[in-house]
């Protein structure tokens, strides 16, 4: 489904009208394509205080083929090249006074940011200090970055990554993700890394080469997009959906040279059947994406048990049961396995008429956080991705007004696409993303709901 308003706002006459009337001006977002350079322009790196990440970030970016410029040269002269991204190393913050350095660097740099530019702030987590002043300064970045996200125009985003001491080696994959077109609709997010032993030398264009990935709910919508992106990145995808959706499922599997597995994930023997299938056909599994979900909306006071139970069974209990079965099956889940669970904005913000859905999607976040330490011990990760307003067949059926408002109340002033969710999941599935564990990444264009 096309975004008619975005297309209008980006046309000649639409540009003039929306500017003069002060209407939302959603941009055409920069989205990832294989072979694309990481960024369309150079990165300017600055520091607030004496940071420890600048050299590492510079090295990582140069390895990724990105030109890195320093703020001194970028500052004074006018008419210089515009930046693809602005990166602030704020690991040197000792107190609020150091934040002035952040302002001094960011203000002129952001002025020269290109469309679909990126602002990325790297900092220590606020919890890792005993000094209230330092904690205050670190926490202040949260408000700073989220506000920048709301000020940025033209499809640009701002995100904050907490890099605790010792987790510097895990920075590469998140850094590349947040700067690239893969994170087009990820805005205003705060991510905390953990130390992890990571393999090196993965193919940037096919980071999932040789991996076996399971995607539930893969017959259509976001699930089909996830299957396609994982396959594009090199994975063999086992596409799972209910038998009823088998015709579309086979179409998806055939399009991406994957395989179709018709399975009702709520059946009592579903975890055992999935384990057996993966063992027999693939000898194990590297990536599991719990995407299958249903809605049975009704106000709580009018909701019958069937609506409540079916949503809980599909959206939450099946994820718990299948994950437990995979963990219990000896050697089935590969040591560096990646499990990604699809939560929802409704699970964070709540949504009228969706008590069952929101409860199930919030439950996923609890599950992910609880399992994260056990996964870390294996060298594996488990994370949640919470989509916001994503344009699918389902949203196409919404009333016009609800859909238009729903899709505009975020910093990017537009709905996301299934591929945006898929890109985030495919990133979390990468071997190099081992430092991201127990996190909830929202793909919502910095939605105003639940922010």
């Amino acid at each position: 489904m096309s975004d008619w308003y975005r297309d209008f706002a980006n046309s000649g006459v639409g540009n003039t009208i929306t500017k003069q009337l002060g209407l939302p001006r959603p941009a055409v977002l920069r989205r990832y394509e294989p072979g694309q350079p990481l960024l369309p322009g150079p990165v300017v790196i600055g520091s607030a205080g004496e940071g420890r990440l600048r050299d590492e970030v510079t090295r990582l970016l140069r390895d990724a083929g990105v030109t890195v410029v320093s703020p001194v040269a970028a500052d004074g002269s006018s008419g210089g090249e515009r930046f693809g991204a602005v990166v602030l190393d704020a690991t040197g913050l000792t107190g609020p006074a150091d934040l002035a350095g952040a302002h001094d660097f960011l203000a002129p740099a952001i002025k020269r940011l290109r469309a679909s530019g990126r602002v990325l702030v790297l900092a220590d987590p606020p919890g890792g200090t005993t000094s209230p002043a330092q904690a205050a300064a670190r926490q202040a970045l949260d408000g700073l970055v989220r506000s920048i996200g709301k000020e940025l125009l033209d499809g640009s985003t701002a995100n904050l990554v907490h890099v605790p001491l010792g987790a510097e080696g895990a920075l590469g994959s998140p850094l590349r993700f947040f700067l690239s077109g893969r994170s087009a609709y990820v805005d205003g997010q705060v991510l905390t890394l953990a130390a992890a032993d990571l393999p090196g030398g993965e193919d940037a264009d096919r980071p999932l080469a040789g991996k076996v990935a399971v995607v539930t709910g893969a017959a259509r919508g976001i699930g089909a997009a996830i299957a396609k992106v994982l396959a594009r990145d090199g994975a063999h995808v086992v596409a799972v959906d209910v038998p009823m959706a088998g015709e579309q499922l086979a179409g998806v599997a055939n399009e991406i040279n994957g395989t179709a597995l018709q399975l009702d994930i709520t059946a009592a023997d579903a975890p055992a059947r999935l384990v057996e299938h993966l063992r027999e056909r693939h000898g194990g599994v590297d990536v599991v994406v719990h995407n299958a979900g249903i809605t049975r909306d009704k106000l709580l006071v009018n909701m019958d048990a069937a609506r409540w139970n079916s949503v809980m069974a599909v959206n939450l209990q099946a994820q718990l049961d299948i994950t437990a079965a995979l963990l219990a099956a000896d050697g089935l889940l590969k040591p560096d396995a990646r499990v990604v669970c699809v939560s929802s904005q409704s699970g964070i913000a709540g949504n009228r008429g969706q008590t069952n859905y929101a409860a199930s999607k919030a439950g996923i976040i609890g599950m992910v956080r609880s399992w994260a330490p056990e996964f870390a011990e294996r060298g594996a990760t488990i994370n949640a991705v919470a989509p916001g307003f994503i344009v699918t067949e389902m949203t196409a059926k919404m009333p016009f007004g609800t859909r238009e408002v729903g899709s505009r109340i975020n910093s990017l002033q537009q709905g996301g696409l299934p591929v945006d969710v898929a890109e985030t999941i495919a990133w979390l599935a990468q071997p190099g993303s081992g430092g991201v564990n127990g996190q909830v990444v929202r793909v919502c264009g910095q939605s105003m709901l639940g922010a």
Partner: protein
């Protein structure tokens, strides 16, 4: 050629749900259905772009344009376009015969993998030009002068506008297959109630198999259908008893629309391979095709029932394999009609038939009914002629695999023209 033969492995199968005639698949052609079925198989086993040794399939009711039906379906599918294919047709035995042909080439080492299948539609059936009109048109086509053309055209009569409609009848007797079966039912004194009981069990077994997910990796939905729409889970002997007979005449007519298979549309396919081919791809071996046999009876002048040929084929195959009729864990006797299944079993129990017709010293004996058609058969699923063999082979292979190694299954399929195709599978 290989010095030794080997048994072909059955890796798995796929079919579309079977649809009652002029219903869900009214606008689907044999080629549409067979292509969709192959694509479902490709998706299940990751065969995109794979060059399979051979694809063998067919249809009983076939348009003349479908002379290369299977090859055309392959070209339209996600299999490699370099996959050879050919058509076979042995009436209702087509699907099983196709599996036997593929298995035999694998056994001989001529191919490493193959797909056997079949499709049939009674909705999109071929209508032919009236035979008289066809002659006129042929002479018109061969006419060289205007005079000859006018003379040929003068032969056209209004009555010739009536098309030739394919009939489910034997060309040599003019009797519908059901009428033939009714004769056999009467001869073997097959009662109405036992036919209805067998029918109800078929529906119940199949409904239960669907409910426990047995068909999850055997069926792929098609055109909005995810289960066979002939299936009646709530079928009961009391309900069936109310139906009027449709085959046979007068008193003692027992065969109704329920205990006879309806006209159905559908398609099926089975993936066979050498054990090595399957292992290289991480694909399962559900069972092996051990042996097969065909037989034919003279139903025109010889006094044998049209659908009794499997009764003759089975003992020949048992003798060759040193087996008795009781040496099987599962039996698949195609339910063309409930009475056919019952008459076949009764014949095997009958000392006179076994001695005089089969030349055996003792009767083959009876079959444990609890091992018969355990996930339902054609009375429940329906019977798109050429698709039935593939349905049975894949389902039986899975059943044997689930039961564990060394389990044995017998398939018996009767076919028009007084023929029968039977086979043994073993896990």
């Amino acid at each position: 050629m290989a010095a030794q033969t080997r048994q072909a492995a059955i890796v798995g199968g796929n079919r579309i749900p079977f649809a009652r005639s002029n219903g869900a698949y009214a606008r689907a052609s044999n080629q549409d259905m067979l292509t969709a079925t192959l694509d479902g198989l490709v998706a299940r086993f990751g065969l995109q772009g794979e060059q399979v040794g051979e694809v063998v399939a067919g249809a009983v009711l076939k348009h003349s344009r479908d002379f290369n039906l299977t090859r055309e379906a392959v070209l339209g599918s996600r299999l490699s376009a370099a996959t050879p294919a050919y058509d076979v047709q042995q009436a209702c035995g087509t699907g099983l015969e196709a599996a036997v042909l593929v298995a035999n080439k694998i056994a001989l080492g001529q191919i490493e993998s193959g797909i056997a299948g079949g499709a049939d539609t009674t909705s999109d059936a071929p209508l032919a030009v009236n035979e008289d009109l066809r002659r006129v048109l042929i002479s018109l086509n061969s006419a060289k002068t205007l005079q000859q053309r006018l003379k040929a055209l003068a032969g056209i009569r209004p009555g010739q506008l009536l098309p030739e409609i394919p009939r489910n009848a034997e060309p040599r007797t003019g009797l519908a297959m059901g009428d033939h079966a009714a004769i056999t039912a009467k001869e073997w004194e097959i009662g109405r109630e036992e036919q209805d009981e067998l029918t109800v069990r078929s529906h119940q077994n199949m409904a239960a198999a669907y409910d426990r997910g047995f068909f999850d990796d055997l069926v792929t939905p098609y055109l909005g259908l995810s289960r066979d729409n002939n299936l009646r889970p709530d079928s009961s002997v009391e309900k069936l008893a109310k139906l009027k007979p449709v085959f046979g005449k007068g008193e003692g007519a027992t065969m109704t629309a329920a205990n006879s298979t309806p006209l159905t549309d559908g398609a099926s396919a089975v993936l066979l391979a050498s054990d090595e081919w399957a292992a290289e791809r991480g694909l399962p071996v559900l069972a092996h095709l051990v042996d097969a046999q065909t037989a034919a009876v003279d139903y025109v002048h010889g006094g044998e029932g049209l659908l009794m040929a499997p009764a003759y084929a089975v003992p020949v195959m048992l003798a060759r394999n040193g087996l008795t009729l009781q040496d099987f864990d599962f039996y698949e006797i195609h339910e063309a009609f409930a009475s056919t299944v019952l008459a076949t079993m009764k014949a095997w129990e009958d000392p006179a038939f076994c001695k005089e017709k089969l030349g055996l010293d003792a009767p083959l004996g009876s079959i444990d009914r609890s091992k018969l058609n355990v996930y339902g058969s054609s009375l429940a699923a329906g019977h798109p002629f050429a698709a039935t063999g593939g349905r049975i082979v894949a389902s039986l292979a899975k059943t044997l695999h689930q039961a564990g190694p060394g389990k044995r299954g017998l398939i018996s399929i009767c076919a028009a023209g007084g023929q029968g195709v039977v086979a043994i599978l073993e896990s």
